[in-house]
Assembly symmetry: C2
Homo-oligomer: 336 residues x 2
């Protein structure tokens, strides 16, 4: 039985750093080039593998040389790629990450329609999805594929959803089944139907989402950081004994600040954040611990060019202890 | 014996079209992606092959999968790649061509130092260089490699140089041996040591260059087009009988306008221009005919995204006849 299944994009990341993009008509020499396994699904799976979590990736590549290259890289990263479809006639998605000095980043994405998951792809990976303990869904995938995965997830699986559903049917299905939802500013707007005015408004949005079904929401609210809120009950997901009340899961919230130094490249921050959260919850950590591990994983990832994470669990634990201390946050008893 | 040897960059071209580049922090979906054999040397060699000219390419790729891919593509294009070095430990050069709607183009180039020609590479291709009838040199390559090629060229070879030499020794060697020099505005400045103020000034620059050695100069002077000037004497290069006076090679000049419709992507214009010129001169065409074929090849190439040419000799001949007529240019007797 799979521990964690990540359902999301797989692609080639081309990272080019330049001092500054030229004006139209101009040219510039790149100061760095990296060509990597990328895509939000793959980046999250890489992060989970680096955190020691057995992970199965479900997604689509092309039946081409770049597709074979990225799958080989995923396998070398310790990811189970048995759920990946190599689609004939579709080029593997390409994600260009143009990074100027100072952390100014532009993405140019070429994700062919064939490189997105279909309900049939999810059905083909059916046993994997049905048997997993944690199902992590990236909502940039088509709504029909997301709904197919939600239908197949076992009743006891912990379901984590990242992003905004592409249509109302998918939003209802996600809110009705997901245990945890993470969203950035633009995605929150799509989830709750209005624009947030600030952290206080984020509290209202979090309450609105929690009342719709999820046990935990994590909202990226910009400069202040991430507002994470949860409601009382047993720890969600199969890892907890059914009905057992966990003191870490009393009603609560925490505003976790952006950690680390200056941002070289924001790409991959959200994927690393979700991976940290999943790894912590799977390890029976509480919601606050999950929020801090997410924030630390994101901070590590934005400190270099490219969305591929490079996580060291011991270094993350140290960073969390240091930052919690610096920000005057209490360390929940019994956890760390 | 090789007909034409092109010495210049070989690389991977990644062409991404977008409606508009996003602001920093943003992302955009590409409307088109093309991944091609590219680099100025390869583009010129492709153009020559399309014009029916046997061509040998001398340049450097990495000893990697992309390098093997682009060499296979060059061979499929009919280019002799026996003069290409596959350098271990060097990634194949990558040229990103970001094209916005309206023909606004930005290049991001990653040309590792190892992907440039050395004198030893030129020596390794020595027989090819020494035996060719036409040597086409791209002056973006290191000066030492350019000088090594000039030293090896036979006395009767037609030598065409494109660009600006990187140092004074190379400039002296180029001016002392090249039969034809082509340069754009920035390159002219480096060649003659001052900035051009307009087409009249370009005439002075052309006269200055012609007095320094070359028989023919082609200067891209911006909106008006290309100023092409030549001085009297036998047709240059091995194609002409030594000492025989060719009436097409009396002192002369022509300002060839920019041909064709609107520009989708200016990448590759200069490479196609030089290929047209080389093909015409090799076919015993005069300087004016060479200028028109260059301009028509360039116009064809800027009409699509990416620097790779797609030349049809019959279509170019038709375009030239039509445009000469439209611009009221006399068709030189006995040619056309």
């Amino acid at each position: 039985m799979a521990d964690v299944v990540v359902l999301g994009q797989i692609g080639r990341d081309l990272v080019l750093r330049v001092a500054e993009l030229p004006a139209a008509g101009g040219s510039v020499a790149a100061s760095e080039r990296r060509e990597l396994l990328g895509g939000k699904g793959a980046n999250q799976a890489v992060a989970l593998a680096q955190l020691g979590v057995p992970v199965v990736l479900v997604g689509v590549v092309g039946d081409d040389a770049p597709g074979r290259d990225v799958l080989a890289q995923a396998a070398a990263d310790g990811i189970d790629v048995s759920g990946v479809v190599a689609r004939p006639g579709t080029p593997t998605a390409l994600l260009l990450d143009l990074v100027e000095d100072g952390g100014r980043r532009r993405l140019v994405e070429d994700v062919p329609p064939g490189a997105l998951l279909t309900p049939a792809d999810v059905a083909a990976a059916g046993g994997t999805v049905a048997g997993c303990q944690v199902l992590s869904l990236q909502l940039q995938q088509p709504g029909a594929a997301v709904r197919a995965a939600l239908e197949r997830a076992s009743r006891t699986a912990l379901v984590v959803a990242d992003g905004a559903p592409e249509d109302e049917a998918t939003r209802d299905a996600v809110l009705g089944r997901a245990d945890v939802i993470r969203a950035d500013a633009a995605e929150i707007e799509l989830l709750v139907g209005r624009r947030l005015s600030g952290p206080d408004d984020a509290r209202d949005a979090a309450a609105q989402l929690l009342s719709a079904g999820p046990r935990m929401v994590a909202l990226a609210v910009g400069e202040p950081g991430d507002l994470v809120a949860w409601r009382a009950g047993p720890a969600p997901g199969a890892a907890a004994g059914a009905g057992e009340v966990d003191p870490a899961w009393a009603d609560g919230e925490v505003l976790v600040p952006r950690l680390g130094g200056s941002t070289v490249d924001p790409t991959g921050a959200g994927d690393a954040w979700v991976a940290g959260l999943v790894a912590a919850l799977r390890g029976r950590g509480g919601p606050e611990e999950a929020a801090w591990l997410g924030a630390a994983a994101a901070a590590s990832t934005v400190a270099h060019a490219g969305g591929r994470p490079s996580l060291d669990p011991a270094a993350l634990a140290e960073a969390i202890a240091r930052e919690r201390d610096r920000h005057g946050v209490r360390i929940p008893s019994g956890r760390g």
